[in-house]
């Protein structure tokens, strides 16, 4: 490398930065589209050409969370005045919020689907990463007969696409009563993520010098204590990375969720598109649902970004 950058190199660098910016914008465009549609008035959602400048409003989110029906007649001024601010937004859209006989607001299907997604994704991620970490530690530290074959077997569970096993799984689940239950999906996603988690964590475990544990063993700790006090903190980066990937997989999973669940345990991915077909689609509501759906993964990844970026920094071992 030349120590001094020439002007040609400098302009090339600038060009590269422009190129990267363009690619970034192309990748971010769909996310911007969804996010902006989530805040658009309904009549601006499907204009051609697309509306870029608009007065953002919150009504899509109100509509997303409430059960609504078409207004046959406009609300009376008294009704309108008595309604809370968010209900007026629904009136403005030519709809009304459905209330029970006692006047309680009826929720739409979205909040429960969203909760289901959270329950299933978080639980299955904890299980897959937890079991994967233990398994990987075993494979990494102990001589196991047929280790390579076992590892290949674990990976091979990942080789069939989910759709192929979905029907037999559905039949089996029906027999054992796991259809449309949280545990049904949690078990599936855990099993699905486990192979990935074992392989990824094995890589990270192999990177942790075994001298650390040996030092702890000599210092008077049992292997279990050494694992929890030394190995686990050292593996934090790997655990974080694996957790992000497992969470994303479980969070976004569509095929199993579509086939295995329909009401009680249905997650957001099969629910959101199902709203497109019910009546005249309100794209702003669908965009609002999708936008909210994107947030947990974004937040989770953002919180763990240091772990993901830091990589392995084992400064205290001389190799």
């Amino acid at each position: 490398m030349a120590a001094v950058t020439t002007s040609a190199e400098r302009s090339l660098n600038k060009l590269a930065i422009v190129g990267v910016l363009i690619v970034t914008m192309i990748f971010l465009a769909p996310i911007y589209w969804i996010a902006s549609t989530a805040f658009k008035p309904r009549n601006l959602a499907t204009t051609i050409p697309p509306t870029v400048v608009f007065q953002p409003e919150i009504s899509p989110f109100v509509k997303l969370f409430t059960k609504r029906s078409q207004l046959r007649t406009a609300p009376t001024p008294e009704q309108y005045a008595a309604a809370p601010w968010w209900e007026r937004l629904v009136f403005d859209g030519g709809e009304k919020v459905v209330r029970s006989g006692r006047g309680e607001v009826q929720w739409s299907g979205y909040p429960s689907r969203f909760m289901n997604s959270l329950i299933v994704a978080i639980t299955s991620t904890i299980l897959a990463v937890g079991m994967g970490t233990f398994t990987a530690y075993g494979f990494s530290r102990f001589k196991i007969k047929g280790e390579q074959d076992l590892l290949f077997f674990i990976l091979s569970t990942r080789m069939l696409p989910p759709v192929v096993v979905a029907i037999p799984m559905f039949l089996m689940y029906r027999v054992v009563g796991l259809n449309d239950t949280h545990w049904g999906l949690i078990i599936l996603y855990t099993a699905f993520n486990l192979s990935f988690s074992v392989w990824l964590m094995k890589g990270f475990m192999d990177e942790i010098p075994k001298e650390y544990e040996e030092a702890a063993l000599v210092d008077g700790y049992t292997r279990m204590e050494a694992f929890f006090k030394i190995v686990l903190p050292e593996a934090a980066t790997g655990i974080a990375a694996t957790a992000v990937f497992c969470f994303i997989t479980a969070w976004n999973e569509y095929a199993f969720a579509l086939i295995m669940t329909n009401r009680r345990a249905q997650t957001a991915p099969p629910f959101i598109p199902s709203q497109v077909g019910s009546g005249l689609p309100d794209w702003t509501v669908i965009a609002a649902g999708t936008f909210l759906f994107l947030l947990p993964v974004a937040i989770f990844t953002f919180l763990l970004r240091n772990h993901l970026l830091r990589g392995m920094s084992f400064g205290a071992i001389r190799k």
Binding site: P209, E214, V218, D219, G220, T222, E234, G315, A316, I317
Partner: protein, 369 residues
Amino acid sequence: MTQIELRGVQKFFGAVQVIKDLNLKIDDNEFIVLLGQSGCGKTTTLRAIAGLETIDGGDVLIDGKPVQHLKAADRDIAMVFQSFSLYPHMSVYENIAFPLRAMRKSKAEIDGEVRSVAKVLQITDLLGKKPSALSGGDMQRVAIGRALVRRPKAMLMDEPIGALDAKLREEMRAEIKRLHIKQGSTTIYVTHDQIEAMSLADRIVIMHEGVLQQVGSPTEVYTHPANLFVAQFVGSPVMNVANAAVTMNGSGARVTVDGAAEGFLFPAELVGQLDAANVEQDRLALGIRPEGVMVSREPADGYLPVEAHIIEPLGSYDIVDLKVGAQMLRARTRSGFVGKPGVQVFAKLDPAQAHFFDTTSGASLGVRL
């Protein structure tokens, strides 16, 4: 009072036997150095004592009690690793306190002991730092502190200063010796560096291919190596070894190096001692350290003419290659003593520093003149 004993220890890695019937007794407060090339089984021996490696035969005894079935944690032994193995996510303070926490000591006790050990090692100002912020020497001090803090029965050190640069190594060597004298604990130290071994050890244990070659004080292994391996492994520059024949000539014995026209003069009792050893006297290995080869610029009694080849000036002395017959003998001379390569000088061997070995077994014939 801690004695460590190895009785008939065997260890296999698959089909390879890395420790072959090792017997060794280490006394209380002794500083033992296991010396050998890499792969000779010295580290495995150390790990077997620590409990990090299981053994396939024999006994490891600490204070007379077999411990080979005990876990590392239950042997009350501390170890310093070559890689230092400081826990990166803990501060220096936490690293040193870690073994004490395993003993479930109170906070105040832990604090007192960590600070006192830090004072001894002069690392008090480092206690708040993370290991990654330390220099190599400081990392090693912390690692030693972690080992010392719980006053273990014995300290094991696996090439603890091998990863440091030469100058720091010398400093740390002196520090380890000072600490040992001050703290006085049974210590087993593994190294491949014979200078480290010579300078630190009460006794050196030399191993080769899993077999113990010799145990003795640094002077003993240096002056009376048990076999050719020890002779050539200990000492720098390396001992000269040449095939030679011993003949009787008048009142004295003559030791003729292969291919040489004339032999060096030795006392007649050499022949008697070789007779007692019952070996073929025309096929021996002569070993002599460079300082046992005496060089003169003028012809003198008992000196043979030889040609100087390469001269290595090493500051305080020179190492001069002398061609004797078909062999090169390296001599240690005053610096600048031999002017330039190619000149003729005169050489004599000091009988008191000469060693004779069996060419087939390599064992010393025990000749002492």
